[in-house]
């Protein structure tokens, strides 16, 4: 599904290298987790994959189902099936949440040359998905993320994901700022989207999210590289011993 080869990235504004040769291969239907200490480049990886400005790719490649992601505009990547659930979802004053969702769904369908969803079908779909995530209709009318609590923002990201039905979902520290109940709700939302074909890349600091969203493979990232990959037990090891041992091992 997603092939990342020897990806090197630095900031555009300053000469600071962040990713130093990332290799990742994600098969369709699998859940991969990336863990790592602060500043290891996890969020940068998610931004570069989704096309945020400000980063320069100096070497390497990233392909989604064989398509060169790095050559595409952010909206084209989205239409090709890539979705990033933001760590800090952005507020857009004055734009109703529902309006935003409809605009996103229609834009992607248009880019893919598919017929647009009718207003009726769209409403039905939103209501059903919102119910699963316990999103009140009031939250659908409010401006995008404006005045939302941390938990509401994250649930809203998952609602967008559910509506857009991406092939490849990247979750950037979706657990940050969530209490236990909110984390359960969000995880349920994510798990409901696991269908054997959809692929997930879950970026997190903590093992606790992985209790709810069970990964197939866990990668440890440090200083811009994947330093170790393994099964779910690797996450438990990190939880128990921290990153220090792993860092020493590879140093």
């Amino acid at each position: 599904m997603l092939e990342i080869k020897n990806l090197h990235v630095q900031l555009e504004e300053e000469d600071k290298k962040i990713l130093k040769g990332v290799n990742l291969s994600l098969e369709a239907g699998k859940v991969h987790a990336i863990m790592g200490p602060n500043g290891s480049g996890k969020s940068t990886l998610s931004y570069v994959l989704s096309g945020k400005k400000g980063y320069e790719v100096t070497a390497g490649s990233a392909h989604l189902e064989g398509n060169d992601l790095l050559a595409m505009a952010p909206e084209e990547r989205a239409a090709a099936g890539l979705f990033l659930a933001f760590q800090y979802p952005v507020e857009i004053p004055g734009v109703g949440n529902m309006t935003f969702l409809r605009s996103a769904v229609n834009s992607q369908q248009k880019l893919r040359g598919e017929p647009e969803m009718t207003a009726g079908d769209f409403l039905k779909a939103v209501r059903a998905q919102a119910k699963n995530l316990k999103i009140e209709s009031d939250m659908l009318k409010r401006p995008v993320n404006v005045g939302f609590s941390g938990g509401e923002k994250k649930r809203n990201e998952i609602l967008q994901m559910a509506m857009l039905q991406p092939k490849m979902c990247i979750l950037d520290e979706t657990d940050s700022g969530l209490d236990v109940d909110a984390m359960k709700l969000v995880s349920q939302g994510v798990n409901a989207l696991r269908d054997g074909n959809r692929t997930f890349l879950v970026i997190t600091h903590y093992q606790r999210l992985l209790d709810h969203i069970k990964p197939d493979i866990v990668h440890i990232m440090a200083a811009g590289k994947i330093i170790k990959s393994g099964g779910p037990e690797l996450a438990l090891e990190v939880e128990k011993n921290g990153y220090a041992n792993l860092l020493e091992e590879t140093a």
Binding site: E75, R77, F86, G94, V95, S107, Q108
Partner: protein, 504 residues
């Protein structure tokens, strides 16, 4: 106007239909084409003879000519104002045509069916329905049947006015200004120049001398106008100024909602537009006046475009009278415009909602004046200025509480949005309070369209320009909601179109 849309239902903020409609439109200025038609011009330049000629072309009575001549004499004594934050080459008033009408309009057509097909085609192409039965055809408006009567002004003359018979049944007079001078001289004499006096300002005085046509509306006592009224202004001829005059009188307890739209072809040479609008509102009456100004803005290097110098004022003469100005200013190379409210009657109310967009080399200096004279009067100002490219956008507003305006209140909210780093936004509020029981509030913000917002939208599948349109429409939401729904759709699209090329 958004009349051709299949769906005129307006939802919260900008909706997906808008974004879709925006995509379907290409090119930055949609109305830049020109109509090839045989025209009759007055000789170039301005003189007493030209003033007399315009009056003669309109078959005006003596009193109207005298009024014009008095204005012309006055204008000769005035100096062009230069306090606004706009910079343009000085206008050669002798290098303009002051009167241009299609030859087919010399004999005024008896009905719309007799109007030159080329003119009808022009309005059809602009999306303005001049056929009464064809209006909003195929559109299922959610709140039942809605009609809009249109007065179509082409260069110096009114081409025709729809639904006049139906309006007459309700007692409403809606006709071109030149017809009003002939058919309702008493009403015109009673109110003309009482809101914007002949000597008011340089451009208003010029307009008083050379205005050629415009719209006249009278809503009798207690009548709620059965449909929206609108005027569509089209400048077509080259090197010709358009000087129209609008006079609306809402008699006691009446109500009317009026819309105006304006466009012009792309020309390399700047053209002058100086209009005067007077609103008279008597006891318990209400006028809603909406404008979507989309004159040709000039090209991205500032070549051509309309110089728009407009004086608009509402006189809330009666107690409990109300006026609401809503304007979406997207066009013109230079805009100089301050729709104002004189709150003379006790308990009268004035509201001003404005979106002003300046892109490329456009300059806008716009705002309002709220003059509180009566007791317990209220005013509200919501201004949204958007600057992009190398444009300069100024909000200039006066709130004045006179000694007798006891217990009056004003609330002003003035927000500026910048796109890119070569444009400017300026806010110039003037506040005068001459009594101690009134309250004035002023809030102002300046923000930039945030790259993170744009990236967030794009990561969800929206193109860059759609993303800008969405964010900006969100910024303008309070004002867009104040527009009648026919215009809200058009305005949302315009916001997007006028900002094309502003990012990237």
């Amino acid at each position: 106007m958004g009349i051709e849309m299949n769906d005129v239902h307006v939802k919260d903020g900008v909706d997906s239909e808008t974004v879709e409609a925006v995509k379907a439109l290409s090119g930055t200025y949609k109305y830049g084409w020109n109509t090839e038609i045989e025209m009759e011009y007055a000789p170039k330049g301005l003189s007493e003879d030209i003033v007399r000629l315009i009056s003669e072309k309109n078959n005006e009575p003596e009193w109207m000519l005298d009024w014009r001549l008095q204005a012309y004499k006055r204008w000769l004594e005035l100096k062009e104002p230069n306090w606004a934050m706009v910079d343009y080459p000085s206008i050669d008033f002798q290098d303009q045509y002051y009167y241009a009408r299609p030859k087919s309009m010399i004999e005024k057509p008896k009905s719309l069916d007799d109007v030159d097909p080329k003119l009808l085609e022009t309005y059809k192409k602009l999306g303005i329905p001049l056929k009464e039965q064809a209006l909003l055809a195929g559109v299922e408006a959610p709140d039942g049947e809605r009609k809009v009567a249109v007065d179509a002004v082409f260069d110096s003359v009114s081409v025709g006015t729809t639904f006049q018979t139906e309006l007459k049944k309700a007692g409403v007079i809606f006709c071109s200004f030149s017809e009003a001078v002939k058919d309702y001289p008493e009403l015109v004499k009673k109110y003309l120049g009482t809101v914007v006096p002949v000597s008011d300002n340089y451009y208003a005085t010029l307009n008083s001398a050379v205005f050629s046509d415009g719209s006249f509306i009278y809503i009798p006592e207690g009548v709620r106008c059965p449909m929206e009224l609108s005027t569509y202004f089209r400048i077509n001829a080259e090197n010709t100024g358009q000087f129209e005059r609008t006079l609306i009188i809402a008699d006691k307890g009446s109500y009317v909602s009026y819309l105006e739209g304006c466009t012009a072809p792309k020309r390399d040479v700047a053209q002058l537009h100086a209009a005067v609008v007077e609103l008279v509102i008597l006891d318990d009456a209400e006028i809603k006046y909406s404008t979507v100004q989309n004159w040709y803005p000039g090209d991205e290097n500032g070549k051509g475009g309309i110089y728009n110098f407009v004086t608009k004022r509402a006189d809330c003469r009666g107690d409990r009278s109300k006026v609401m100005w809503t304007q979406v200013e997207t066009g013109s190379a230079v805009t100089w415009k301050y729709p104002s409210c004189v709150l003379r009657g006790n308990d009268s109310q004035g509201e001003f909602y404005s979106i002003a967009i300046a892109n490329n080399m456009q300059q806008a200096d716009t705002g309002t004046k709220m003059v509180h004279l009566g007791k317990n009067t209220k005013s509200r100002i919501v201004s949204k200025g958007i600057s992009a490219g190398k444009a300069q956008n100024t909000y200039r507003g006066l709130v004045s509480m006179h000694p007798k305006a006891k217990d009056s209140r004003n609330f002003t909210q003035c927000d500026s949005l910048l796109i890119g780093d070569k444009c400017g936004a300026h806010t110039v509020p003037y506040i005068e309070v001459k009594n101690n029981s009134s309250r004035v509030e002023h809030e102002a913000t300046t923000s930039k369209v945030d790259d993170d917002q744009l990236f967030y939208c794009r990561s969800r599948g929206m193109g860059e320009e759609d993303a800008v349109a969405l964010v900006v429409n969100g910024f303008c939401k309070e004002v867009l909601q104040a527009l009648p729904m026919e215009f809200a759709m058009e305005a949302q699209q315009l916001v997007a179109i006028s900002l094309e090329g502003s990012v990237g």
